[in-house]
Structure formats: structure tokens, C-alpha cells
Amino acid sequence: MEDNKIIYAENLTKKFGNFTAVNSISFSVNKGEIFGFLGANGAGKTTAIRMLCGLSTPTSGKATVAGFDVFKQTENIKKNIGYMSQKFSLYEDLTVKENIVFYGGIYGLSNKEIKEKTDYLVDILKIGDARNKLIKSLPLGWKQKLAFSVSILHNPKIVFLDEPTGGVDPVTRRQFWNMIYDAASKGVTVFVTTHYMDEAEYCNRVSIMADGVIAAMDTPSKLKESYNVKTMHDVFVKIAR
């Protein structure tokens, strides 16, 4: 494995009975990269992400994440990654502060670090008044920004974002991407899925899955060039159809 490859997968495959959900995919993601992982519903994205996060054992092939093997070192992987999705992120019945303390504790941060992080997040997210409010009482946009911040609380090498901006208003969606850029500039590798094709343009590189395989992978500008279209939406339509 080369040093700057934070994710490395070779012929990674997952079968469920007779059904091959992920069919021998090979790719790598560089340190600090914003990598867009696109594909139609049912193309195999979620299965692939579950394998990379150490939640599902591959049927065959090999892969390392943050230098750890997805077959044997899943606990090391979990300590070194962050994860957030639209569906599951924070505990709705805990307050903002309680969530931060909980996740900080899970990831082994000291009480002092947790307190510093809490003050820092409350400050940069401008949610001072909401510190002791339950998560379920917050607007979705706030929740998603907070969930992202919590997912990188333990300074992971890589963060997996599964449709983080689904249903979020257009202004917050853009603020969210500012946070992604900020994290990437600090060296965190970002692995993100989205159904918003304008967001695909913000990625350094994009892969598009179709029927369990990676049908295309390159920078957005090279993909548009090679498919001879103007937008990533058009690239996606050409591949997924």
C-alpha cells in the first residue's frame, strides 16, 4: 500500500446468496481527498460502505482503510473513522451537550478534551442557547451540521458521510459543504454519497457505481469531458441508464 492511500480496495466483493451486491470493485482514495461515491439506488453503495467501515465482512477481495484490514482489523478501523448519515446521527432524546459527551466518551476522549470540544463546537456552530436543548427540538440543518462535527470529534483519518444533505435547505446545504472543505483542508479524508449532482461537482474525484461495479471514476471535469456533457447530472444519467 502506498502511504498516501487512505482507502485501498482490490476486487472487493460481497454476495448475499446468489445475489452479488458488490462485484469485484477496485479503487483507492488519497489522504485529504473529497471522494464522491455515487450510484443509483440498489447499485451497491451501502454494501460497499458497510464493508469499508468494518460492519460487513467481504465475500472476497481485499481492502484496507486507514491502513487496517477490513477482514481482520475491523475494531481498529472503527476507531479511526467517523460516520454520519441522514438517518442515524445523533440521539434525539439527549441534549446537544449530552450527545457530544456521549460520543466523546465512546471514542475515548478525556473529560478535559470533551469540555474543550463542546465549547469549541457550540461557539463555531453558533448554537450557544441550544446547548441544553434536546436534539429533536433542533432544526434539521443544525442537527446535520452538529452531527458532522460530532462525527469528526475524535480527529478520525477519514469520515464517511452517507447522504448527509438529504432534505436540507439550500443555504444550509452549502454551509455544510463549507464544513466539508474545512475538514478536508485539515487533512481529514471525506468519503461522501449524495443524490444532489451539483454536490458531485464539489468533490475532488467521483466514482459512479452501477449494478455492483464501478462504472466510472475520475475528477468531475474529466468525467464530463470523456462523456462529452456539460454537467455531472448528465454524466450520471448516461451511466445509470
Partner: protein, 303 residues
């Protein structure tokens, strides 16, 4: 007569105002979109119009019937596809459809024409349990079940959320065909680009409507000249323009930045000159027509 008439309708949940004094009408055969992010009040509004919730104040009529007094009449004539998949997971595709047909006192055969185009895609899986279907298949089955009693008006709550762009196109194609058959459709979505597929839309945010009109009219009311700008390094261009004293708004849109200026009658040349002074390379500046997302963000700022 309007198919749907909503007048000053309001709904609170404790101290949260989910729907705040909303009024609009939908005519026969219209495809009407409620466009807005989560928390805009779309689902609460739909639940009131389908008689599952009572408003706190204001009133609404569906097919001329009052949503509180005449709720039983409304239920016979509307189709409702909730945002969360709510068919019976342990029944097969065919059993679900038959169940809904029976409840409404009809049969699959009687209204088969209406669902034929959609059901054909499900037919190979008709013995499969609904819970075992893929997302796209569930969506199609839910639509069939909402249509099986041949409703006069269809309420579709976020049918395309979390669905990829290609499948979303296919779904809107189905809606267009249903519209051609004379069914009035109200559909909600958080995807701004779907607004252009509706006859008229209500842009919604935090329980209020920001604007109700045809997509073209909403776009034509965008107040300022809008420019799309790109250069070799979009991130530093964005930072520079954020710091620029004449900048009004700037938002990333794919590989362009959408920019409005504080000055009136500013030209592409003037903007170009300024960006050149920043030592940017490969600059493009063009005057563009806004899209619904530009309008939505401008309206969010005004409110």
C-alpha cells in the same frame, strides 16, 4: 370549483408552529408542487388535507368537502402516498394491491388501466413480500395502491426523497401520464430542480409559503442580474468574492459560483475586470437566468 382550497390554515404542535397561516388553491387537473426542505410543513399540510389531522385554525376544502366536517367523503376520493413506506411489509405485492382495492370497494381489474404502466414493472415480483422490495419498487407499489380506487386527487408526500436522479426522472414521467388522465396531483419534494416539472408550486420554509406561482413567474420575479462565474480555483475565488465590497450574494452551484452585485446595471465586463485583478486564471463570467434554487435562497433571505 377548486379541487383543493386552503385558507389561512394553521397547525401547532405544542409551541411549534408546523403550518403557519397558509392559503392556496389547486385547480382541476393541475400538477401542484410543495417545494421546501425538511421542517417546511409539507407533511403536516398533507396530513390535514387527507383528513388525518385537524387544523388549529383556518379551513380547507378538498373536492368541495370540508376537511373536518366531511372527512369521510374526502377519504373515498383521494389517494395518499405518505413519505414513509406504509404498506403491509408481510403481504405480497399482489396482496397489498388487492387489500387496498377491497377497502375502497373496488377490484384491481376495474381500474387496471390507470395503474397498468406502473404495475407492469412490478408484475414479475407480484408474489414477493412488500418488505423485500427495493426502494424503487416500493415506491411504485405505493403509487399503485394510492391509485387503485381511481381517486380524483392524489397527494404524494416526498415520493422522490433519497431516490437517485435517473429514478426520479422516471417517477416524474409517471406523474405526467397520470396528469394526462385528468387526475389532480399535489406532490411535495425537497429537490428544488423538480419545481420546473410542476404547473404551479408553493415554495415553503418553516411553515410558511415564500411564493406561490408558476415556476416561470417565480423565476421572472428574481430581482437582480445573476452571473455564473468560474475560474481555475473555485475555492479561492469564492473567498475573494466573499470579501469583495460590491458583492451582494454568492453561492456555489456545481462548478460555477452564482453571483449578484450590489451595484445596479453592473456588466459582465466589470465583474471580469475585477476577477482578473485577483490574478485568477481561466475565468468565465456569464449572465444567466436564475433557477428555482436561486429564487428560493433569495426568498429565504428576504424573509
Amino acid at each position: 370549483m377548486y379541487i383543493v382550497e386552503v385558507k389561512n390554515i394553521t397547525k401547532n404542535f405544542k409551541d411549534t408552529v408546523a403550518v403557519d397561516d397558509i392559503s392556496f388553491e389547486v385547480g382541476q387537473g393541475e400538477l401542484f408542487g410543495l417545494i421546501g426542505p425538511d421542517g417546511a410543513g409539507k407533511t403536516t399540510l398533507f396530513r390535514m388535507l387527507t383528513t388525518l389531522l385537524k387544523p388549529m385554525s383556518g379551513y380547507a376544502k378538498v373536492l368541495g368537502f370540508d376537511i373536518v366536517k366531511d372527512y369521510k367523503k374526502i377519504r373515498k376520493h383521494v389517494g395518499y402516498m405518505p413519505g414513509r413506506f406504509s404498506l403491509y411489509q408481510d403481504l405480497s405485492v399482489e396482496e397489498n394491491l388487492k387489500f387496498f382495492a377491497t377497502i375502497f370497494g373496488t377490484t384491481i381489474e376495474e381500474n387496471y388501466d390507470l395503474i397498468k404502466d406502473i404495475y407492469i414493472l412490478l408484475e414479475p415480483f407480484k408474489k414477493r413480500k412488500a418488505g423485500k422490495l427495493s426502494g424503487g419498487m416500493k415506491q411504485k407499489l405505493a403509487l399503485c395502491c394510492a391509485l387503485i380506487h381511481k381517486p380524483d386527487v392524489l397527494f404524494l408526500d416526498e415520493p422522490t426523497t433519497g431516490v437517485d436522479p435517473v429514478s426520479r426522472n422516471e417517477f416524474w414521467e409517471m406523474l405526467r401520464k397520470l396528469k394526462e388522465q385528468g387526475i389532480t396531483i399535489l406532490v411535495s419534494t425537497p429537490y428544488m430542480d423538480e419545481a420546473s416539472l410542476c404547473d404551479r408550486v408553493a415554495l415553503m420554509q418553516k411553515g410558511k409559503t415564500l411564493s406561490i406561482d408558476t415556476p416561470e413567474n417565480i423565476i421572472s420575479r428574481f430581482k437582480k442580474p445573476l452571473f455564473a462565474i468560474s475560474s481555475e480555483n473555485q475555492y479561492s475565488l469564492m473567498q475573494n468574492l466573499l470579501a469583495y465590497e460590491n458583492r451582494d450574494t454568492i453561492y456555489p452551484f456545481g462548478d460555477f459560483l452564482h453571483y449578484t452585485d450590489k451595484r445596479e446595471n453592473v456588466s459582465t465586463d466589470e465583474i471580469m475586470k475585477y476577477i482578473e485583478s485577483l490574478n485568477c486564471k481561466k475565468i468565465t463570467v456569464k449572465s444567466i437566468k436564475p433557477n428555482i434554487e436561486d429564487c428560493f435562497m433569495a426568498l429565504m433571505e428576504e424573509n
